[in-house]
Symmetry: C2
Subunit: 208 residues, 2 copies
């Protein structure tokens, strides 16, 4: 079943919210409550969730724990994913040290760079920067399936090609480029978020 990407993103947001509710010991939630917390329409919540079967009971809402487990399976985060990072600059290091990722079942197995000054540097208790020359062997040895590209724009395409050829199945791309590849890519160009924000700010001030 092909689920549209906006729906997938909302599922991940419902998931985040449900985790917090379960932590707080809240067992039940209605689509209206969920919608209010996330500032979306409750018809949208119901539509998104009904996609996958009937999780809720009319008038009784959803069982938070059941819904959490279901979304976990739908998203594919019920299993652990091994992730490598290419590029040990500011962004690559921040991702390597970002504890939230591990909490969500993603394990950063290795970090690579071309810069001799960075290779051998310790990032945290588990990770030392390796040379990109070792990347292909490492991917095979560790069975890493996902990769983060945090290289400069110019290097990203070549790295993406090498990653795909080594068996990587999906890429998170922080480099400001559009990659030419047939494996799934999620783009996180931070400057695009800034530009989109500025446009919203300006449009709003024009309307006043």
């Amino acid at each position: 079943m092909k689920i549209p990407k906006p729906t997938v993103k909302r599922l991940a947001i419902y998931y985040r919210c449900l985790e917090r509710l379960v932590d707080k010991g809240i067992d039940n939630i209605s689509s209206r409550q969920l919608a209010e917390m996330l500032h979306i329409k409750d018809t949208q919540v119901r539509k998104d969730l009904s996609y996958f079967g009937n999780f809720g009971r009319r008038g009784f809402g959803y069982k938070t724990r059941v819904l959490l487990d279901e979304i976990r399976k739908i998203l594919g985060i019920h299993k652990r994913w091994n992730v490598i990072i290419v590029g040990a600059g500011n962004i690559g290091k921040a991702i390597a040290r970002f504890k939230q990722i591990e909490k969500h079942n993603f394990k950063i197995t290795g970090i690579f760079d071309v810069d001799r000054k960075k290779i051998g540097k310790r990032i945290n208790s588990d990770l030392i920067v390796m040379s990109v020359d070792e990347m292909e062997n490492f991917i095979e040895k560790t069975g890493s399936e996902l990769a983060v590209i945090a290289t400069p724009a110019e290097a990203a395409q070549l790295i993406a090609d090498r990653l795909k050829n080594s068996g990587i199945k999906g890429i998170i791309c922080f480099a400001p480029v559009t990659l030419n590849t047939d494996i799934p890519v999620e783009y996180v160009d931070i400057t695009i978020f800034f530009k989109t924000l500025v446009h919203s700010v300006i449009s709003l001030s024009h309307n006043i």
Copy 2:
């Protein structure tokens, strides 16, 4: 004029591509070429750009430099924006040190934290971590209009309220929460990108 957010995001991506073309000395580009580089449909490119008037000439394409200037104005990045960062953890520091942002006319003016161990630490040649107690005064003094929230989830809403009350007009939120505020927010929850990616990878493997 209210432009849909997906269009705004694509404009920012056209902009990124046009910058590279101008750097390479390429003066003209057709919508088809632009579409091919970005793996989208050329009808989409033409539709997006025709939104703002007639930049191209049928059969002659777009003048890269003219289009770049126009998109810059539409997005609102022809002026400089002062930005503060709240939270000097891994993500906050990475954003503070991320040179791409400055290159795009966003100036990081200050970075704040509540942690006494972090306050006073140097982030780069321009920035030293300040106490959040100084945040409101600093925003006023520097005329900062945008803010990055890179705090833990629990702190984000209170910070967002304080930012709005101090005159901040837009927020980039890295904290994994949905904020309750009426100023524009762009959300960058890195774990959501990982989850969305995993879903694409899994769907693809099911289809094979």
